[in-house]
């Protein structure tokens, strides 16, 4: 049985914060497929395109027929633990700090045998559900979980290290006015967030809905404008040391393509959506990256919400899509920069949202509540790439299949 995680005590200011260490980082190129799947929360292994044999560990040729056509495919998650150990000694600094560490040998229903992290509620002889998670080194690892949900299973120290669960964490949402913010606060509080800071730009403009947020318990509205580096620096000085998860909801969007478009709007889109992300990362990122091993409420994730058209533009929102592509690119650089700390860089891709800027568009559109759920689910699962809603999932799928065809389809080339 997992013991419920206790709210952390206040930090002893005389103790040095624990410097984050990482589990082993090195991987072969083939093994990166595990990381890609883990980032999206899929359990995928290599399948031989010729004979169908499922391969593990990842490799370059089929262990059965020597075909080099190995495809990453979603794979049945069942398995049985056939051996287990509790490691009491490791030369690796990351694991040394977390001993004893449980792992085991799992025979997969799909065929191969995997060494896996064991959830505290499973052991030798148990049927398990296998899952791929990103570890602190941002690499995909296999975890053996109970087949049925057990009490507070997410509080298991292993799961805590593999996810960005909001429980007992302090979260900063950057734009109070974003439609997603209120349902997001509710979802985070339901998941156990201890405090939610909400950024408000231009406090000199009244806006509906402020009172509803201001009235919530354990929620503070703070001055924050992603276009103003000074405001970010001031706020980071105030709450940067206790921001465990940052969710960037700031977004500037106007319809329009390039020829009929407006460079003033374009500049705002770049300023808020691209440079805003950069400024946020510069002001809050280093502090968060230094606190990823800081106990129960350690810093865990930096969340960015992107239009799925970051992958391929909708010409009706062409300039906005350009800003999203740029923001996605920045997020990938940030992911590389954060990878040395164990801080997760999570992108949530969303299709057209049900708001004023997509009002004339036909459904399906993503409601603020659905987006909020996706964000919190992604944190709970510890994902780095989240697709919210059918449009985003469909677009990502088509993009993976053929970015060139997708571009032509979106620009009116498809029947």
């Amino acid at each position: 049985m997992t013991s419920p995680l206790k709210p952390p005590k206040k930090k002893d200011p005389q103790k040095r914060s624990i410097v984050p260490t990482l589990p082993p980082l090195g991987r072969s190129r083939a093994a990166l497929g595990l990381t890609v799947a883990a980032a999206e929360g899929r359990f995928a292994l290599q399948h031989c395109a010729e004979c169908g044999t499922v391969q593990y560990p990842p490799r370059d040729a089929c262990t059965h027929c020597l075909s080099v056509e190995l495809d990453w495919r979603d794979t049945p998650t069942g398995g049985t633990v056939i051996a287990e150990t509790r490691i009491h000694a490791s030369p690796d600094p990351y694991f040394r700090e977390r001993l004893p560490w449980r792992m085991g040998t799992v025979k997969l229903d799909a065929g191969p045998v995997a060494l896996a992290h064991l959830h505290g509620d499973v052991g030798r002889g148990d049927r398990v559900r296998l899952s791929l998670h990103l570890d602190k080194a941002a690499q995909g690892v296999i975890v053996a979980l109970p087949t049925e949900r057990t009490d507070v299973m997410e509080d298991d120290p292993l799961m805590r290290s593999l996810t960005a669960h909001p429980r007992h964490r302090r979260i900063l949402i950057t734009d109070a006015r974003a439609p997603v913010t209120l349902p997001l606060i509710h979802a985070l509080q339901k998941a156990g967030a201890s405090h939610v800071f909400v950024g408000e730009a231009e406090a000199w403009r009244r806006w509906p809905g402020r009172a509803a947020i201001a009235a919530l318990e354990n929620v503070s509205i703070m001055p924050l404008d992603v276009t103003d580096a000074d405001s970010l620096q001031s706020l980071a000085g105030e709450i940067g040391g206790k921001t465990d998860i940052l969710i960037n909801t700031a977004r500037f969007i106007r319809p329009g393509g390039v020829l009929g478009g407006d460079t003033v709007f374009a500049r705002d889109e770049m300023d808020v959506n691209v440079l805003g992300l950069m400024r946020l990362a510069q002001s809050f990122g280093p502090g968060m990256a230094a606190r990823t091993a800081d106990g129960t409420n350690s810093a865990a994730a930096f969340v960015n919400i992107l239009s799925a058209h970051a992958l391929s533009p909708d010409p009706g929102y062409g300039v906005f899509a350009a800003s999203q592509a740029a923001a996605r690119s920045l997020s990938q650089t940030l992911r590389a920069e954060f990878s040395h700390s164990g801080l997760r860089m999570m992108n949530v891709y969303v299709g057209p949202t049900d708001d004023e800027w997509h009002q004339p568009l036909p459904p399906p559109k993503v409601t603020p509540a659905a987006l909020a759920r996706s964000i919190v689910d992604g944190l709970i699962e510890g994902l780095e790439e989240v697709y919210c809603g059918d449009v985003a999932r469909d677009l990502a799928e088509r993009w993976r299949r053929d970015p060139g065809v997708l571009e032509r389809e979106l620009t009116g080339g498809g029947a």
Partner: protein, 389 residues
Amino acid sequence: MKRQSYDGVVLTAPVTVPYVRYSQETAHWWIARALRGALDKAGMSPRELDGFSVSSFTLFPDTPVGLTQHLGLTLRYLDTIPMGGASSVVAARRAARAVQAGDVDVVACVAGDANRIDSFRRLLSSFSRFSMDAAYPYGYGGPNANFALLTDAYMAEYGATREDFGRIAVAQRDNALRNPDALMKKPLTMEQYLSARPVSDPIALFDCVMPCAGAEAFLVMRENEAERRGLPFARLDGTIERHNAFPDDPIQLRGGWAMDADELYEMSGCAPGDIDLMQTYDDYPVISMMQFEDLGFCAKGEGPAFVRGHDLTIEGDFPHNTSGGQLSVGQAGAAGGYLGMVEAIRQVTDEAGPTQVKDAARALVSGFGMINYDRGVCSAAAIISGGNA
């Protein structure tokens, strides 16, 4: 097709360079000392040597090619055996064939490794791609964790107890106390074994070898050459070698020996009952127990009963790892794969001194190597007998 014998080829000039826990010296230094020792024993100058077989994990950035120039050797046979615990058997059988065929006159088989502070961790981190991708990220327990899993599964499957494995470790310590070169100098009781601090359950401290620096060597040459030089020698009666046996076993409860043991005895013209002493590869007791089973000393799963029923010390009814084995002497990298062979040559040539088994005529040397991912991949074994047998 029936395999040809190794008639006319012998193993001789066994040398151990005493191990040390940590050393600033390089693998080159250790290998040079072992090679020099073997050549001195044979009365050969390095200029006369024309064959060299090397096993080492810590030569980087060199390979044995670099060693030829480094050590001033001019060779017509150069081999590198990267098979860890299986290295000595594999080195011997290949060298024997080359000598037998006349491709080379004398092959010096040498294994040696350095051990600086932290070099074990760094060695592990570059050990294999599957380990890097699929083993180390799971607790980084190294071989301890791998063998803990095998031990856990073996205990569950066959009802072995910690005490059964303890019998192997305790007997080896008894043997080691006679070996002045063993790193472990204190007696080990069963109680100490059972109460030792856990390393990776169910494995505890005395199930694990101590990494150290050291080197081992022997020479392979024609029998008449050994006689000419007045060297005691061992004949190679039979060998086997197997890699990645039983790949469909979900966990390793048997090794490649189980595929090839019958052939080993047939080639050697003997049976398990004819073996006077056995040198297993003992990086963990569980794997020695599997070697007893897979090499026919008892049936599969009867390893625990076997160790309960036999005395594994030098003077016992089943002398095993007479030098103390890696568990008590130390594991000097790839030299760990030579420890049993070099000791066996000494035993059957009556040169073992304080660890000598009385009337030791025939020895079985078994090797096991390379945890590539979840199990040891290489297995090998040889039966050798004294020149006067």
